[in-house]
């Protein structure tokens, strides 16, 4: 037995939460602590935390990632668990600058699930795979007792190939980089909330779920220098920027007046007391790009996402690695990581 195995100790302080809470999956500080638990066991000295790992395999550089999908309801405006399970993993590969090639699909099905529902999800996955240019080539199915699952849980694992020499990772981010965002924020999270809580607005809020690989591959083909990419899923923009600021040892400044957020989404957030900067998206990314490539990069981004693609801020030197926001009224404040999930406020 090596020394390393002897020294394993759980990094999560047990006295506060000896059990898994929903907040451990919320994209905030508790989830960071949970990731430390896995890193302690599985990590190595050169582990880089990113959406997908890049590996050197017999002459080819590949990207490899995995993700599990649990969502209630299974079908929601703008998508379903099937399209989400394909797009999410495809997007993680794209964030490493890879061309997504193959996916696995594992299903955990709850006893009693209707076959028609399963077929609908599987068809949706197939369509999403065609759209993203990937093939689903292997899979697995398990069935659990009624009440032990939420209809369908899906895990997808993806492999992609890296066909360029750029190092797209938080460590490449430098002061002076601009932060580009490909569209409006917070739509996926609020679409799910609206359905789950039975909230009705004048318009239907649709998820922004979308594949991002085509956009990334075109940016790379145009020789845009991409320092880092990250898709804005759980925990939203704020959590992603905090993770990158710490990993790149820089500060990040963003401007509230530049944040594209749809009116109905803002309204829903105001009603529930949510900050849209922390709400999940499923088809949004931030790209860290040097100043000289800004116009070309933005043009390509707008050719894929015509609405609301924008420069929302920049990277600065800061020894405290803070994310700060210039508010609408001109004052400045810290945008911190949340502890766990956003909880609806009382009044």
């Amino acid at each position: 037995m090596s020394d390393r195995q002897f020294n394993l100790s759980c990094p999560i302080p047990l006295q506060r939460y000896p059990q898994i809470l929903m907040a451990h999956g919320g994209g905030g500080k508790l989830m960071q602590q949970l990731i430390q638990l896995f890193l302690t066991a599985f990590g190595t000295a050169d582990t880089i935390q990113h959406d997908a790992v890049t590996l050197q395999l017999a002459g080819n550089q590949i990207a490899f990632t995995t993700d599990s999908y649990v969502v209630k309801p299974l079908f929601f405006p703008g998508g379903d668990i099937g399209s989400l399970a394909v797009n999410g993993t495809v997007n993680d590969l794209a964030m490493a600058g890879a061309r997504p090639l193959y996916l696995s699909a594992s299903f955990i099905l709850e006893e009693g699930l209707s076959i028609a529902t399963l077929w609908q999800v599987v068809q949706s996955m197939q369509q999403a795979a065609v759209q993203a240019g990937v093939q689903i080539v292997t899979g697995d199915t398990k069935v659990v007792d009624r009440g032990k699952g939420d209809g369908i849980f899906i895990n997808t694992t993806g492999v992609g190939i890296i066909e360029h020499q750029q190092k797209i990772a938080p460590q490449s981010v430098q002061p002076g980089d601009l932060i580009l965002l490909n569209g409006d924020l917070a739509r996926h999270g609020m679409a799910i909330m609206a359905v789950r809580e039975g909230l009705e607005f004048e318009t239907t809020i649709e998820s922004d779920s979308a594949p991002l690989a085509d956009l990334v591959l075109e940016l790379i083909a145009a020789e845009i220098k991409i320092h880092c990419l990250r898709d804005l899923t759980r925990g939203g923009l704020a959590s992603v920027l905090n993770e990158i600021a710490v990993a790149a040892r820089v500060g990040i400044e963003i401007d509230e007046s530049l944040m594209p957020i749809r009116e109905d989404v803002r309204g829903a957030c105001e009603i529930l007391g949510f900050d849209p900067l922390y709400v999940a998206n499923e088809g949004r990314l931030v790209a860290f790009i040097p100043q000289q490539d800004r116009d070309r990069a933005l043009k390509i981004m707008r050719s894929h996402f015509p609405y609301n693609a924008a420069i929302i801020g920049q990277v600065v030197e800061d020894r405290n690695f803070l994310v700060t926001l210039k508010s609408q009224i001109g004052s400045k404040r810290i945008v911190d990581l949340l502890s766990g999930e956003q909880l609806p406020r009382i009044c």
Partner: protein, 364 residues
């Protein structure tokens, strides 16, 4: 967005900031009573836009923060009872009780804890689960009392027997009086809580303003609201006037919502209530009237009789009374953080300590 953007307008903000600087001639301490206002002030950095003579003091106006450890412990005990579906507003779930356990942990341990947006949702849950006991954690100032009263009234009308309340409602004016009557009081003027006054009106505040010779301005929650409230309060202070004024006229009337008030007095009566970090304040809490007492969870369930000690490292009492600022606490940001809160103001996003931690932890 209408009703939001115009109150977050940079141009109007600048005008009020300049006007405030123009009329300020000496130091003043103004307390905003409501946690929602504290959240806005810290989020938008409003206090940093003010001249150095003006100090904003963050009052005890977060109902989540001031709920006593004893009631949190009772909530935790109820939520752990397999017979019970425990319904609560979201931000109560992370408040630690006396053994640093919270409702989220109870939920993870198998307790049936559900987040609701209205006590009427809890009534629905009770109707759908007739074999279970449904308890709603009734928290909040006068703002949330009408919906709780409505839920009890509805349950009574419909004969719903499996619904009850753990009542933690608190009232604002007695807390204001306590602060003003304290020998170490340092508050020169108050911003009263706009949404509380939407329900209660502001008749009751006249007597407080006169008795303690302290101006009160009923104020809203957006940056422009708060700056205008401060401006109105300063104008009174600088000219020696003492009145109750209404900045939040788009929502608040002098009489308030009389239908809601009638319902509240039909269902509730006032009692002494313990405030976390402050102590017991006379007539500052609500209890169900005799006629509705069968809906009181304290009567329906048995609780262990224990007295609980509040932690001594936490200076939340001094913070809630405005005597100290969050960063003046030894524990702030060190062994007290939103992940490991020692005291309630660090837990709710409306608590003064959490707002400071979230928006300016390293900015002095």
């Amino acid at each position: 967005m209408k009703f939001v953007d115009e109150y977050r307008n940079a141009e109007i903000t600048r005008k009020y900031v300049a006007a405030i600087a123009r009329i300020t001639t000496r130091p003043w301490k103004i307390m905003e009573i409501c946690g929602g206002q504290t959240h806005s002030i810290v989020k938008y950095g409003i206090d940093k836009l003010l001249p150095p003579e003006i100090t904003l003091i963050h009052g005890p106006g977060c109902p989540v923060c001031v709920t006593s450890v004893d009631l949190i412990d009772k909530a935790i005990a109820l939520a752990a009872n397999p017979e019970v579906i425990f319904c609560s507003f979201g931000d109560m779930l992370r408040i630690p009780g006396s053994h640093s356990q919270d409702l989220l942990s109870v939920k993870a341990g198998g307790g049936d804890v559900r987040i609701v947006y209205s006590p009427l949702d809890a009534i629905k849950i009770a109707q759908q689960n007739p074999e279970r006991q449904v308890v709603f954690f009734a928290v909040g100032f006068e703002t949330t009392v009408p919906t709780t009263a409505m839920a009890v009234y509805r349950a009574s009308q419909l004969g719903i027997d499996n619904f009850s309340l753990l009542v933690a409602h608190v009232l604002v004016p007695p807390a204001m009086e306590l602060i003003l009557a304290a020998p170490n009081n340092c508050v020169d003027g108050f911003l009263a809580a706009g949404h509380v006054c939407t329900v209660t009106g502001y008749q009751e505040y006249q007597a407080i303003a006169q008795k303690y010779h302290t101006p009160i301005v009923v104020t809203g929650f957006e940056p422009v609201d708060i700056l205008q409230g401060i401006y109105m309060c300063l104008k009174q202070l600088e000219t020696g006037r003492v009145e109750v004024e209404n900045q939040y006229a788009r929502s608040v009337s002098y009489e308030g919502n009389q239908t809601a008030q009638r319902l509240i007095s039909e269902v509730f009566e006032t009692v002494p209530r313990q405030w976390r970090g402050i102590g017991t304040i006379e007539t500052s809490g609500l209890r169900l009237q005799n006629e509705y007492s069968k809906f009181d969870a304290l009567n329906r369930f048995r609780f262990k009789d224990t007295t609980v000690q509040e932690t001594t490292d936490c200076i939340s009492g001094a913070i809630l009374q405005g005597i100290k600022k969050p960063h003046q606490c030894q524990a702030f940001g060190k062994h007290c953080t939103p992940e490991h809160p020692l005291g309630a103001p660090m837990v709710s996003s409306e608590g003064a300590c959490a707002a400071y931690y979230r928006y300016r932890q390293l900015v002095s």
